[in-house]
């Protein structure tokens, strides 16, 4: 049973902790307000210097000297905030070598192997702005960090450094979930020429379907013509999953030779392939595909009817006339779908076709 002594001890501990919490509230508020003001002041003073460099081509030395004079956390947070918001990738390439040797940068990058994830996180964030060829090993380690937050930020660093880091990332894509694959590739593709160079040799029919699918999606997202030529050659792949990804990716490949491939895919046995082919024909505004698309609005699969109707609306002109014709036809399913899409505004058609 609880004795009075135990309760008395509990009361003392609780009272002490409450006093500590109240004191902590006061001290923390003062400290955090002071620290936030320090960073805000740093950002406010750095902004015009960066602006002068970006717009008027002023001397970058002033930016570097200013940051050197700040406490490391102020310099880091100011650069992290402003570089992400204002400085283009190309300009970051100019800024990076100048900052890389600065003592405050060295100090934060030394944390790349820290046991605390938030220090590695800051190092990865900074590497995405100032990373150079000497940092490839560290970025490679951060890409496989045990913290998902660090891994995600390290992708940005890998994108700016390219080389074997891009290969590492492309090889890891197929093992990721869809949303992660897309996000990861979007980050990587900030350096499109290097990415396309690494991607094209991977687009071969003998590659296992699960890997090929991820790389086809990446080729589609990159919209690189050379990569998409290779994708088009995979349109007759035996695996329906691969044909589905090909049809989806080809909506970014505006070449005359793509049209017959997509029309063939519009009659595929797999409804998912037919739906994506319809979507691609709409995205490419293939007027000659209007009649096959009008037939596809009568398809037995809901998604094919939906994508085909949207494609007709997206193509416009004669294709839209065909859509209206279907909406007055005898097939109830086709009539409903075409009536739905025919009533949409142009903006809605574009938006719904895109996603």
């Amino acid at each position: 049973m609880l004795s009075l002594d135990v309760l008395a001890v509990a009361l003392t501990v609780e009272g002490t902790l409450i006093a500590a919490a109240l004191g902590g509230l006061v001290v923390l508020r003062l400290y955090l307000v002071w620290r936030a003001r320090q960073v805000e002041a740093g950002v406010a003073r750095l902004e015009p210097l960066l602006h002068a460099w970006l717009v008027e081509d002023a001397d970058l030395g002033a930016v570097v000297a200013f940051l050197r004079a700040q406490p490391p956390h102020v310099a880091f947070r100011s650069v992290a905030r402003l570089a992400t918001a204002y400085v283009t990738f190309e300009r970051q390439q100019i800024l990076a070598p100048l900052l890389r040797g600065e003592p405050w940068v060295q100090r934060i990058l030394r944390h790349g192997r820290s046991m605390f994830w938030w220090r590695r996180f800051d190092a990865a964030r900074l590497l995405s702005i100032v990373g150079g060829p000497d940092d490839v090993t560290m970025v490679a380690a951060l890409l496989s960090d045990r913290s998902p937050a660090v891994r995600l930020v390290a992708i940005d660093a890998a994108a700016r450094l390219g080389g074997r880091l891009v290969d590492l990332e492309l090889d890891s894509l197929p093992g990721r979930q869809d949303a992660v694959q897309q996000y990861q590739f979007a980050a990587l593709n900030r350096h499109p020429a290097i990415v396309a160079e690494a991607l094209v040799p991977r687009l071969r029919p003998e590659v296992p379907a699960v890997m090929l699918n991820a790389w086809i999606d990446a080729a589609g997202a990159s919209a690189n013509p050379v990569a998409l030529w290779r994708v088009r050659d995979l349109a007759l792949h035996e695996a329906p999953e691969v044909r589905l990804h090909v049809a989806r990716a080809l909506r970014r490949h505006a070449e005359p030779e793509t049209v017959p491939v997509l029309l063939k895919l519009l009659t595929d046995d797999d409804w998912r392939v037919r739906a994506q082919a319809a979507r691609a024909l709409g995205a490419l505004r293939v007027i000659s595909a209007a009649r096959p698309l009008a037939l596809a609005v009568r398809d037995r699969a809901w998604w094919v009817r939906y994508r085909a109707a949207l494609a007709l609306a997206q193509i416009g002109g004669e294709a839209r006339e065909l859509l209206l014709e279907v909406s007055r036809g005898s097939d109830p399913l086709a009539r409903d779908m075409s009536a739905l899409v025919a009533g949409l505004s142009s903006a809605a058609v574009v938006e719904m076709s895109e996603v």
Binding site: M1, L2, L4, L7, A8, A10, L11, E14, G15, L17, I18, A21, L22, G24, L25, L28, R29, L32, A80, R81, T84, A85, W117, W118, F121, R125, P148, A149, R151, L152, V153, D156, R176, Q177, A179, V180, Q182, Y183, Q184, F185, A186, A187, A221, W302, Y306, R335, D336, M337, A339, L340, G343, L344, S345, A347, A348, E351, M352, V355
Partner: protein, 484 residues
């Protein structure tokens, strides 16, 4: 004989008293454990949610596509503002599916006028059994908006209609009276980019009463000076900042607020959507989802992250507050009864061995234990069985522990998100943390006890609620459960 009876009585009440003391010790220790588990996670989310990292996500076209489901029943006062706030969220790809659940006020009329709606054919794949849908509408001005007008069937039924009409693989369920911060959806989608298997993500709900709201946006976050809403503000901070965060490491959450949760749509359709037979469809859904995931051997988790924020009104009158708490507890009872097979069942892992027993003993039975303990302690003290000194020490210890937990939550808020900028608001939070055990707790216990009576009477009603609009003292239509 009489002295023998007295001895038995003394033995019984002292045994019960000791059992209650141990119960409180265990439950409070568990709260302390949640606090310890939550602190490092709060720090992690705060760091990762920093603006520049978020800005990068925002510019990416690769974020998951999300359908926002908004059930609305008699929301004419706030619907236009709430919907505009949703339609202007900072997120690349989303749609809003608003389901008008047979409103008897002019909700539908206001929508038709404000958003220039036109009727479209029912080209929707129906998978779930729901009340009859009267019509689908699209907006000529807002391409992201789909409005579904249906016969009244309740919130769960409306969400099921929304699930069917949604186009995207992820769905966000939110209340029409909830204000979602512009970047909240982007933050909520973050766990899906971490390459972890996630079935659902919940975000934080905060109290909007007394905040300045303009066009559906929180301009100035304030703590209400009125005792009832002020104490609820502390209660929400405590529940969200360490209660639910702590559960992430203990086998997953059993509550994702119906007002603000992001789900993988395929999981929701596989479990046939929301249950229409319960008055707390959000809690029931998550328990059923966790059950389904375990039975299927799926590794996907239900997680909570603290930095996505939505704001909701809390009741300012005791009567409305009572109806809300009574309904929540009734829903808890019915869900625990419906899923009793999970309790202490090792097949369901931490959900069966930790979360469900916790909800049974520390949530469902808490008002009973608290009421019995209060009565016994008073009786024993007056009968001279328990020393007055011991009773006073015990009450003060329990009081201080509760206050300490509240102060810890306020401290965590100050260190991390710091939404309340004025020192006066922090002072108010501290004040309400100290007065919460006097009156508020006892009122809550009373309404939760009433829930047992109404449950056994077979009552399935929600109770009448009245809405006055943002910026004024108002009661929520559904409210958001803040329990740990």
């Amino acid at each position: 004989m009489s002295s023998e009876l007295t001895a038995w009585f003394v033995y019984l009440v002292t045994t019960a008293d000791v059992a209650i003391l141990w119960y409180m010790l265990l439950v409070n220790s568990f709260f302390a454990l949640l606090l310890v588990l939550a602190a490092p996670q709060l720090f992690a989310h705060w760091r990762f949610g920093s603006e520049d990292v978020l800005a990068r996500s925002l510019t990416s076209s690769a974020v998951p596509r999300v359908s926002i489901l908004v059930p609305a029943h008699n929301e004419a006062v706030t619907i236009v503002d709430s919907l505009r706030a949703l339609l202007t969220l900072q997120y690349p790809y989303f749609e809003v599916v608003l389901v008008n659940d047979g409103s008897t006020d002019d909700t539908m009329q206001r929508l038709l006028e404000a958003y220039d709606l036109y009727e479209v054919p029912p080209a929707v794949m129906r998978r779930l059994r729901t009340e009859r849908v009267k019509a689908y509408y699209r907006s000529k001005t807002w391409t992201k908006l789909l409005v579904v007008d249906k016969q009244n069937g309740g919130k769960a039924d409306s969400l099921n209609v929304g699930l069917d009409a949604a186009r995207f693989p992820y769905v966000l369920a939110c209340d029409a009276d909830t204000l979602i911060e512009p970047d909240a959806l982007l933050r909520l989608a973050r766990p899906f980019l971490f390459d972890q298997k996630i079935a659902a993500v919940g975000g934080t709900i905060r109290v909007v009463n007394s905040c300045t709201v303009e066009e559906g946006r929180i301009i100035d976050a304030r703590v209400d000076s009125r005792w009832l809403s002020g104490i609820q503000t502390v209660e929400y901070l405590r529940a969200f900042l360490f209660g639910r965060l702590g559960w992430n490491l203990l086998g997953g959450n059993l509550i994702i607020s119906g007002a603000f949760g992001l789900f993988r749509r395929d999981y929701l359709t596989e479990i046939l959507g929301y249950a229409t037979s319960t008055v707390t469809e959000d809690f029931e859904l998550i328990v059923r989802l966790q059950r389904y995931l375990k039975e299927q051997g799926a590794a996907a988790k239900v997680v909570f992250i603290p930095d996505p924020v939505a704001w909701t009104e809390v009741p300012t009158s005791v009567a409305v507050f009572g109806r809300q708490r009574e309904r929540w507890h009734r829903g808890l009872i019915s869900t625990m009864v419906a899923h009793r097979a999970l309790i202490f069942n090792p097949r369901y892992g931490p959900t069966g061995l930790i979360a469900m027993p916790y909800f049974l003993f520390a949530e469902l039975l808490a008002p009973v234990v608290e009421a019995v303990g209060l009565v016994i302690t008073v009786l024993c003290t007056f009968a001279g069985v328990l020393s007055l000194r011991f009773a006073v020490f015990f009450f003060v210890a329990a009081y201080l522990f509760g206050t300490l937990l509240s102060l810890a939550a306020i401290l965590m808020e100050e260190v991390s998100f710091h939404r309340y900028r004025r020192p006066l608001d922090t002072l108010r939070l501290v004040f309400f943390a100290f007065i919460e055990p006097f009156g508020y707790r006892q009122i809550t216990v009373w309404f939760r006890l009433k829930a047992f009576v109404r449950y056994f009477q077979g009552d399935h009603s929600w109770g009448r609620m009245k809405r006055e609009g943002f910026g004024a003292a108002a009661a929520p239509a559904a409210g958001v459960r803040p329990a740990a």
